[in-house]
Each structure stands twice: as structure tokens, then as C-alpha cells.
Symmetry: C2
Subunit: 212 residues, 2 copies
């Protein structure tokens, strides 16, 4: 079960809340980027960035010089992962909505210092984008590692919201002669585009050919 | 041209910065949801939500009771819109990246009080999800309007980042026998799913049948 804190308990649309850790993991595992909220000079900044999950820990990374990562370490952070699954078309403007799955994770971020955990975190971030990729590419050099900050965020305090299904209109609006329903949004892979500098004779590996 | 302020000038990957207002408009107009960063009890909160643009103003909305909107009015906000266009597969773990278009807008949010501007903002938010929809659905009632807060955010302070194209590897890595290139991510509409309660004989209107 997800923990309940004032900021993880929904005040509205309570029926959208999911409270199983498995739901949180599913939303995170299905994503490729998150939106990281940090404080910089007292104001919120929302940065799209990669992430990876190992158990109950989320890993983020960035350049050692990034002000956003300094902000992340100096205050609480909020990481949000959102999947937009469809547009919900109601008979009234007011009841328009979207179908989505989203997770919000709150907490202090921890700078990862242990070399083993740093590598594990970076591996998880790369594998989130392209599972199977880490073992076939050149691993990070000492210099590259020195230029990279790795952050860890516990999944302890988190909320998950899911909306699915048709619109919910006011009862008296169901008779209106207006089409209502859902337009699903689909995400798919296009054909891999080889680097123009790719050496001849290197095929696309199987782990980059599957469909999501 | 976009304005330059300390938080809109990129410190790294400067070649990804776009500085034309047309680039900002293009990123916003191509999106359907944003991630809104606000301060709630001194900590950042990142909320996925709809938006609409009219000229140089972004409109957001929510329930009058939402703590996130109270937070938005009590501090600066940051609105980020991100399109993930592909995964960039390099020969080294370090140079993995993503192709994307993103916009970040900063500023104080203003609560819209004028009834005409409120309706215009709500219309823009609905039309962002489904252009052509506003004129065919029941408009908001007085009661629905009273339950809705509309916020406006000037596009004055904003930054736009775009990454596209193949990976950029270290020169000595180009000889590695590793496939490199881009896996494009495509977003498309699925077939419209009629509300199970849809009255017979109402076809899907043309504005909900086009492909994006």
C-alpha cells in the first residue's frame, strides 16, 4: 500500500486514486521521462528528465553543474510521470476530461555517493529508455562519472491517479444530440533511424526492434 | 524574440535553445497537457493539467477548491510542455539522450475575473484538446463557472529547448561495433470509442476524425 500523507490523499475525484504499490510501479515502469519539480531561488522549476527505478527508489541524473540538481538537493522535490491515454469528449464543455495514468512522488532527494549505487542508478536510467542497451554500449568512463550527479528519491511518499472510461455527463445532458466518447491516444515506435555515421554491417539489435 | 532572464538562458547544451516566439507557440500549440509547478506548503508540486493559449497568454483551470491553484496564486509558477520525439541511442552509455521539444514558462499566475476572459480561457483549454469541440457542446452553466478557477500566465518569460538528430558520440567511439541512431516515438489517434450511453444515430463529427 502507498503511504497516506496530506499531499498524497486526494481531496477531489477520489475515485481516481490508486493505493497499491504495484500501481505506482506500473505507471513508472511504463514511462520514459518524468517532470522533476524543484525550487530554484524560491520559485518552482519543472524539468523534463529521464529516470529509472530500482525497487522502491527512483534515480535521476544530470550534469554536476546543473542548477536544477542543486535545487533538488536543497529542498523537497516532486517527480511526476504522466501517460496521456485519451481525450474524453463530453456533451458539456465542463465535463471534458482526459484519460490518464499519473504518479507523483514527493520527498527529499539524496545525492548518491556510493560508486556501485551510482552505476546501478545510471544503468536503470538508461534501461528505462532502452531495455537491453546498457550491456552493449561503452560503460561510463571515470571522467564521465565525475561529471554526473546521481540523485535518489524514495518512493515512500507517492500518489497515483488513473482516469479511464467514457465521459460522465450531467443526467439531463445525455439527451443532447452531441457525439460523446473517448479519442484514444496511442504511442508507438517508428522505424529505427541509423546514425549517418553508423559503420556498415551493424544491424539493429533485437532489443531495439520490439514494439512497446 | 523570447526575453532573456537568468532562468531562461541555458547554461549547458546551448545549441538546443530556440529564441523565437514562433518556436514557443509551436511547442505549446502541439501539446495537450502541461506540467504545472507550484509551491504548496513550501515544497514543489508538479501537476499534469490542460491548458490553452491565446496570443501571449496561457490559460489554466481547475476546481475552486484545489490547493494546487491556491499555491499557483501564492507564488511563482513554472509551466512545462514536453514532446518526447525519440530515444537517442549512442555507442556509449553517457551519450544516450532523447529527442524532444520543450517549453518552460515562468511567472506569477493571475486569477482571471472578467467573465468574458474566463469564457475565452476555458474555450481555449477545451479547444486545445479537441479543436472544434467548444461550439458543439453545452456551454458552461453559471454554477459550473462558479466552481471553476481560471488562471492566466503571460508567455513573457519562457525558454524553448529542442534536440533532434542522431547521437553525438566521442570521436574514438565511432569505431565501436554498436548500433547507434534514433528510435522515433510516434503519437497517433486510435479509433474514437463512443460513450456506451451515446444515443443512436449520432456520427463521429469531422473535427474528431482527423489525424494529428
Amino acid at each position: 500500500m502507498l503511504s497516506t500523507t496530506p499531499r498524497t490523499v486526494l481531496n477531489r475525484s477520489k475515485q481516481r486514486a490508486r493505493t497499491d504499490r504495484a500501481d505506482l510501479h506500473a505507471v513508472l515502469d511504463a514511462g520514459m521521462i518524468c517532470h522533476l519539480g524543484v525550487l530554484v531561488d524560491g520559485a518552482p522549476m519543472v524539468i523534463p528528465t529521464g529516470y529509472g527505478r530500482i525497487g522502491e527508489t527512483l534515480y535521476l541524473h544530470g550534469s554536476t553543474g546543473a542548477s536544477s540538481l542543486r535545487g533538488a538537493l536543497a529542498s523537497q522535490v516532486c517527480v511526476t510521470v504522466t501517460h496521456l491515454d485519451g481525450i474524453v469528449l463530453a456533451r458539456s464543455a465542463f465535463h471534458h476530461s482526459v484519460n490518464y495514468r499519473s504518479a507523483m512522488i514527493y520527498g527529499p532527494a539524496r545525492e548518491v555517493e556510493d560508486p556501485g549505487e551510482r552505476l546501478d542508478g545510471l544503468r536503470a536510467i538508461t534501461e528505462q529508455l532502452a531495455p537491453g542497451q546498457w550491456d552493449v554500449v561503452r560503460p561510463p568512463s571515470r571522467k564521465e562519472l565525475a561529471a554526473t550527479t546521481v540523485l535518489a528519491l524514495s518512493l515512500e511518499e507517492a500518489s497515483v491517479k488513473v482516469r479511464q472510461g467514457p465521459p460522465v455527463d450531467d443526467e439531463e445532458d445525455y439527451d443532447l444530440p452531441v457525439w460523446a466518447g473517448v479519442r484514444p491516444l496511442l504511442v508507438s515506435w517508428g522505424a529505427p533511424e541509423p546514425d549517418p555515421r553508423l559503420a556498415p554491417g551493424i544491424p539493429v539489435p533485437a532489443h531495439l526492434s520490439h514494439t512497446p
